[in-house]
Symmetry: C2
């Protein structure tokens, strides 16, 4: 009768958050799963965690293989050396075979798995009703409410949504490798726009000095045209740090640069401005997600099948079908 | 009085499409710009082009630097050698400095720029109200209506939206390089799911044979679990082609494999099933886009500022604010 004596898992977000704050990792994991799933339960979690203070978020982004996971792991060590707890959100492509995210980043973070002050979560890139960006924002808020004052968000820096997520952090670190100047496809412009700090990782390889000159030249151009660069507003010039993350070289420089940027944002009042902008954007995302729920509900209407069949038969175009289903008159 | 005698540019989609069909490239470019911009004009273009037949679409996806642009350019030559016209949509990160897409792919396609039978368009990855996937679908339909029986869609195969777009083609080619097995981050699972054909490009590099064995093993596993692989449904096993695209090696093999896959889809009836599924998905995307227009309209409501300020002051949570703005009761 062991089962009968066990308390059923709670479904109350307040109680789960209290458990997470007391160190219950499975409660924390469940809260993040709920915000990933969207819908009414995600909203109830959001309402509870919104009342808590924000954590300082650092986005780390770069192409596959650039070494950003190794750098993220090294930053976890830096935060822990200062005595603070830290949450890590790794935005990984989802696997259709396992139904979940790849374990790669968690394996790479192995050294931190046994540390109770570190909570690492891989987030699937698909299946978020309100979009991955909104799910990541909500997951970061859960971690903050659970008592993590630092949150590291690691994303693949290629792709529309992934760059947006990294750029929405308080401090955004863009990781490149020597020779990136060759790859026109590497989304240089998009990454320049969001970078508060550049890291040239694998700096022992040929071409590091040239890559540094290329970056400096691009920063000159963008400072000339706007009086500033990065997303910080005027005054901050993104530093360029050379690192060999696997050997630990450059990590303390990066950590110091993150501290400099944080102090700059706080002293100038731009941290509050930046966070207010993000909250406005979040409100728009939430509105869109609510409307998408309604669109999905409309597909359960028997009319949906009838009108879809008319579209398939090309007797109706999909724009007219959508407006009929939604009751919109042009 | 030269200006007075010039006809103003037409704003009628029917007239523009007729001009595009007659070879007017600027008319074709303008139609695609309109579908990129979304809104009522995009819908009017969609209604006109929807009445025309579909083209055969080939998605080419891979990591930055994998050589997919070189392969795409070689495929353009193959289509042209057969006498058909071809449209190319290159999904590029947008540049905030130029306001448009990077020119890289167009430069690389230089050999085709003077060929009237080829139309190449870089699409910005941001600023699409209904999403990049919907804008790409509509742009492909414009090219088809303008008389291109083949459309190649090249995307960076990293990122949620970009993989979705490539996977929505009739035939999807996934380009990898020797050694990709090392990069856990390379979204292997997501790419396996959408691949109809694999190309190991830069096959002269060490590790090509090992990469082929890795891919074959992954295909075995997925064929075992589902009885098929790729998105084709049962019966088709994605071939693995080795290429050195810069030297032209392997390109005719790839072109032959695309033809094989097309014949397999057509003979089995799966082409129609696949296209019907895509059209159902498009209808959902269109409904979501229409609702997003409404969410944006709601942000122009004076109430939006008042409620946003309440959220910023933390006296209201954003979920409650969204529901108030949208008139939704939970």
């Amino acid at each position: 009768m062991l089962l009968a004596r066990m308390a059923p898992p709670t479904t109350d977000p307040e109680a789960l958050l209290a458990a997470a704050q007391a160190g219950d990792r499975s409660a924390l994991a469940r809260l993040i799963t709920w915000v990933e799933q969207g819908g009414a339960r995600a909203r109830s979690v959001g309402r509870v965690t919104f009342r808590h203070g924000a954590a300082y978020t650092v986005g780390i982004t770069g192409a596959p293989g650039s070494g950003k996971s190794t750098l993220t792991s090294a930053l976890v060590s830096q935060v822990r050396a200062g005595g603070d707890q830290v949450g890590v959100l790794a935005i990984d492509p989802s696997s259709p075979f396992t139904g979940g995210a790849l374990l790669g980043d968690r394996v790479r973070m192995g050294a931190h798995v046994l540390d109770d002050g570190v909570f690492i979560r891989s987030m699937a890139t698909r299946g978020h009703l309100g979009g991955l960006a909104l799910a990541t924002t909500e997951a970061a808020r859960v971690l903050a409410a659970a008592g993590k004052p630092w949150i590291l968000i690691e994303t693949v820096g290629v792709g529309q949504v992934e760059v947006e997520i990294a750029g929405a952090a308080d401090t955004t670190v863009v990781v490149v490798n020597p020779g990136w100047g060759d790859a026109v496809q590497a989304n240089k412009a998009g990454l320049l726009e969001i970078a508060d700090i550049f890291v040239i990782n694998k700096a022992e390889r040929p071409g590091a000095a040239q890559t540094r000159r290329d970056l400096e030249q691009m920063l000159e151009l963008s400072m000339d045209s706007s009086g500033s660069s990065g997303s910080s507003g005027s005054g901050w010039r993104p530093p360029i740090i050379l690192s060999v993350a696997v050997a630990g070289d450059g990590v303390t420089d990066l950590w110091a640069a993150i501290g400099d940027h944080r102090r700059d944002l706080e002293a100038s009042g731009r941290l509050e401005v930046r966070r207010a902008d993000r909250l406005s954007g979040e409100l728009r995302h939430i509105m869109a997600a609510r409307l998408l729920e309604r669109a999905n509900a409309a597909t359960e209407n028997p009319e949906f099948e009838r009108l879809r069949d008319a579209v398939l038969a090309r007797s109706l175009d999909p724009w007219s079908a959508a407006d009929q289903l939604l009751g919109i008159q042009d």
